[in-house]
Subunit: 507 residues, 3 copies
């Protein structure tokens, strides 16, 4: 058959050549041509990717002429500098370079290394603006500038030593943080200095950045902006297919703390995608339920502009993912209503801790969305569900899900009470002893109760990947862990030094 296919291929190719001759080629700017002179040789992979991208194939002027539903750009007026060329190396890496700490003179061109959301917003302003209202865009500060989370990060990444009979921990170095939490949360990029390198064009000087490379969702960029569009829209093909496929999300959402992808994979939706997705169209804009896909990926429910076959909008595109999420499932001790602001550093509970709930679970309502806003977001999410499921189905699923939020919070509360008892009885050192609440064995078990087991159970419920929420990291461990915390406490109390035991007897 191969031979026959080749012949047909050849005929098509000739037809294509004839058509192409009569048609204007997309124009690459002179600056970009200059880049390509060397870099097509130096980095063939990256250039080949770009050539496959929409960026290389359509000018912004043409892109904005498409019918509104089909547009992938959102500017009002074509920027003059982009009117007549496709978007190549120079269009991004030379845009607003003056605002970039990482700019450098490169063979007469003013180049910056890191392309930022501010650069992207030239053509995609609405998406960048929405994304800025996302928890994700604030992922760096929300972790590093919150003393409690920072202390958790230190307990994860810190380096322990052992001398005599004791262990000591020192805070993690920057490279370790970059290799761990900040890989996903994003790095803070700063100019460290310059370096000279021998190149095919002779000696050249380049800026050296701390925190590079990094594509974390909350990256602090050298132009002061936040985030990295390339976290999902992978360089340099920037393919919408890639951002819509669940694998992209798995880069940061697979582990036991946030097992969205792991759950999706065993859900019926994920099964359908794995089995039948090879025939779907992931490139169409808008994205048509039924025609392009017959089951959702992450993007379908959380981001994409979805329409039916009559081009009626089912859900609007949003890059402010919280728009459709009434509850925050993960990352915190208890599930709770979404925070109002994506910057969560100002949040303080009654005990003065920078947490959206009390240690015993009550939400700190001042900083969280109210029931009305929750209802609105629930409705926004359910629009997509209802494109395939009846209201009876959706209500049944939702009831079950919210019940799971309640019971997993209850199981976390139980673990928290055991921990509080351990602190009170001196079996471990906690808040009142001004000690880290994440360093002792019982504290680590407590963390796993919410960060791993409660989160996993909730995701399994939310996305109907129940198998994951039973034995693979869910309910089994929620219960087992409590038993082990109790045993640990019993042991510690039984084996405390005499003095302490006496002190406690009067109680």
């Amino acid at each position: 058959m191969k031979k026959g296919t080749s012949i047909i291929g050849f005929v098509c190719f000739m037809i294509l050549v004839l058509i192409s001759l009569g048609k204007a080629q997309p124009k690459t700017s002179e600056n970009t041509e200059a880049c390509l002179t060397c870099h097509a040789q130096l980095h063939p992979g990256i250039v080949a990717e770009w050539r496959k991208s929409n960026h290389a194939q359509i000018t912004p002027s043409d892109a904005i002429k498409k019918p509104k539903l089909e547009r992938r750009v959102s500017f009002q007026k074509v920027p003059d500098s982009l009117a007549h060329h496709v978007v190549g190396c120079a269009e991004c890496h030379m845009m607003n370079s003056e605002k970039h700490q990482d700019r450098f003179d490169h063979n007469g061109f003013n180049i910056h290394i890191v392309v930022t959301p501010t650069n992207c917003s030239t053509c995609h302003p609405i998406e960048v603006q929405q994304y800025g209202k996302n928890l994700m865009a604030h992922a760096y500060g929300n972790l590093m500038n919150n003393p409690v989370y920072r202390s958790l990060a230190d307990a994860v990444n810190g380096i322990q030593s052992f001398e005599k009979t004791k262990t000591m921990i020192r805070p993690p170095d920057l490279e370790t943080n970059l290799d761990s939490c900040l890989y996903c949360h994003g790095s803070e990029m700063k100019l460290k200095g310059k370096i000279s390198r021998e190149t095919s064009m002779g000696k050249m000087e380049f800026p050296v950045l701390s925190g590079w490379p990094n594509q974390g969702v909350g990256r602090i960029n050298p132009d002061g902006s936040k985030g990295a569009c390339t976290a999902c829209h992978t360089r340099h093909q920037f393919s919408i297919e890639m951002a819509r496929k669940p694998y992209t999300c798995s880069e940061c959402h697979k582990g036991p703390d946030v097992p969205a992808y792991s759950v999706y994979e065993v859900s019926k939706h994920g099964n359908i995608h794995s089995a039948l997705g090879k025939g779907w169209n992931f490139n169409a804009v808008p994205w048509t339920i039924g025609k392009d896909i017959t089951a959702p990926t992450c993007a379908t429910c959380h981001v994409s502009l979805m329409v039916n076959e009559n081009k009626e909008v089912i859900s609007e595109r949003t890059h402010q993912m919280g728009d459709r999420i009434p509850w925050r499932l993960m990352g915190l001790i208890y599930s709770h209503p979404h925070p109002k602001s994506p910057d969560t550093t100002p949040i303080k509970n009654k005990a003065g801790l920078p947490l959206p709930t009390e240690l015993t679970g009550e939400p700190v309502v001042l900083y969280l969305i109210d029931g009305k806003e929750q209802e609105k977001r629930k409705m926004a999410m359910q629009k997509t569900c209802l494109a395939c499921h009846s209201p009876g189905w959706v209500n049944g699923q939702w009831t079950r899900f919210e019940n799971t939020l309640k019971t997993t919070n209850e199981m976390t509360l139980t673990a928290t009470k055991i921990l509080l008892a351990a602190w009170e009885k001196g079996a471990a050192k906690g808040l009142s002893q001004k000690d880290s609440i994440f360093n002792e064995a019982i504290e680590k078990k407590w963390v796993e109760q919410w960060l791993f087991f409660a989160n996993s159970t909730r995701y399994a419920s939310a996305m109907a990947g129940a198998d994951y929420g039973v034995f693979a990291n869910g309910r089994w461990y929620l219960n087992k862990n409590i038993q082990e915390m109790m045993d640990w406490l019993e042991f510690k109390l039984k084996n405390q030094p005499e003095k302490k035991e006496k002190k406690e007897r009067p109680k």
Copy 2:
């Protein structure tokens, strides 16, 4: 090239149009047309899926005319009501509605929500009959009506609280069970009441079902039947491709308790499927080894009708999966010969427990298949193996596998003896104290010994995905867990209240 492809596409399309014009369209029934009037708009996804299905493209009358090996239906005589239409909404959701608790008058039509195996058996009677003899069809009762398993489910799903110095557990609510074990085992669906909903056609009334939504394999349906064909033949495309791909099985067979998919994925069979399966034909009936596929998926060995290129049958289609399985690997304390009946609730061992083996491993032969039946099933399974492997290969693999059943049973027995010692010495409360055998830490370790580690090791052996059976949940833990059970026991005994310690000294 794209342009050329489009032109060819257009030519094909025109040819297709011309051909179609001269040909009768598959006929949709009037009732189904009525459904589609609204529902194609309301649930575009589900309708698009159905249009891609065989159900929408061929009438049962035509389906039964195919050569025997190619048939996907198994009725003797075309049911009158289905003779002249394809199988659409009405054909399933209005079939035998009078027997359905979940029926309701919907705009003048007598509709039921849940399509059941009894409904499917109209066209697929043999498959439904076979499936009914499966352990899977009885998965609800086998779990919920067996006091030991029920107690395990309660230990997994129960909600613990902590007051003073003690934890208390309360049994799980229904929603939690539905979100956990029953997601795969199946729910018991009952009519809870009616609900009024505002619709595009004005106010309408709908039944509300407890246990809905659910597609569990042993679902108790509103017409009294058991099971859900849609667990594997996913609605509403009912694609055989989907049922034959391993992802579908992963929905319930991936976790540490039954890691069939996890093992398959790292097995050579799974590797071949992942790497080369994109070019296979998953839709052909019968399924031809070598031509359609070059390595098995789950369905190949356990379910499908397999032939060679001369259309000689290698193995017959069966929906009674046990047909080819001599040993039961999982779900119970020890591996043992398959139970005779799919309903395992009548089984009782000498100690009066509803288990197919004694607590020390001896099989309860009365309820289990004998050696002759085991041999027959082994031979049935090996027919598929031998289509690609020599007898020497197959025997080597099987010897290893049965040795692993023996050694994993031995490692479970060791763990059981430690547990029995713990009960005897009062370190934990068990059977003789009429306490749950699943609630204390050492009991949970014991459960993991068989439910996770022995099961995983066995699956890894059975399907030759050895990597999974060593460090990923297998032999490493079988050994480590015993050490930890011993340490736990030592600690508990050393730290028992004075009185008990005295009582023990005389021993």
Copy 3:
């Protein structure tokens, strides 16, 4: 559309038939034809696979005529016996049979069961020679003939029993080892005897081999050679596509001890492969970055001949994978420079242990490559990186990676010191007590510190799959495990028999 496609397909097919008629068919040898007479019937799957292979479609004489970069064979002169046929059953299973313990007279033919690298080297001598210099080729001896690793294998696979109040362990039987470590490391195959089997040609005698079936990378073959090309070049299609896809590597590199695939899957490279790889060309030789693929798989960085679109070589093909690897990340207590020789059994540290580092981490330099060789290998690896990334990116990544080697070694040292303290204080029995260093609970925790957690963290860093290295088996556990080792030690010391405690008080 299907109909139209079929018509086009038919036209192509007719063209193909006409072309084929005018062209010589690849020739199968008489011997192979004789094999096929029966075996095409007996094992349709395996024969169908072979028919799809290059082996069945091109003669070695034609294969060597291709331009050098496109060649898949590496012999200097066509072996006479292979000059005029394609490579079929007989060409491999009858080659040099006299040297094979597993040869037998089969219907007048001198056949051997196991095809070995020595057989493959007839056409692929350079690849076989390179592979022999690989750690992989020595995987059997490096495990089984090193007393420390052998003792670890025994601790993983041994069978424990419980009598009275004690556990006992007996060494694993051969079948268990074959089902576990040796599945990947390779078996030692020996002729056990002969067996008579009834066949379609009457009674026939076949050799029986211990250690069969096995495709482990370090298999000891019946002709004395080492390794199994079929571990990666899966029988009987021997598709280069399969060897280049990461699934193949996952067969042995997914578990927590060596999670290369698990990390790749969540890395950006893996995400790109999962999302866009369906359109890549995995069969091209040479393999062109940008044209054939736009992100690396395992083979891209570790094995394959890579070129740019001008056919300039980016990296040479190598089957000695260590060529591009300066550091050994896994399998041992500490990360260290790669060993000089692939046979690691002669290595001894100062304490006389067969380990490439001291127990406290210092490398045993005599047996390990020096800094210059490390630099050379680093450069060889980075050539591939630089095809898509700038030097600034690559240096940033590498700095982070080497920092992670340092800190994970440090975390392992801390765990080792705790273990040494446990041994010294009599809480566990270790080296000086001539006891296994892998059997007690604290020793098993120590093993997990390096074998699971440090290894996982390093892989996550090396391949930029950070998510895996934080909570999924990495830094979180590196820290938690130390806490648990400390608690275990405290408990054991507190609960030691009186006598010992007295002995310690004076300290």
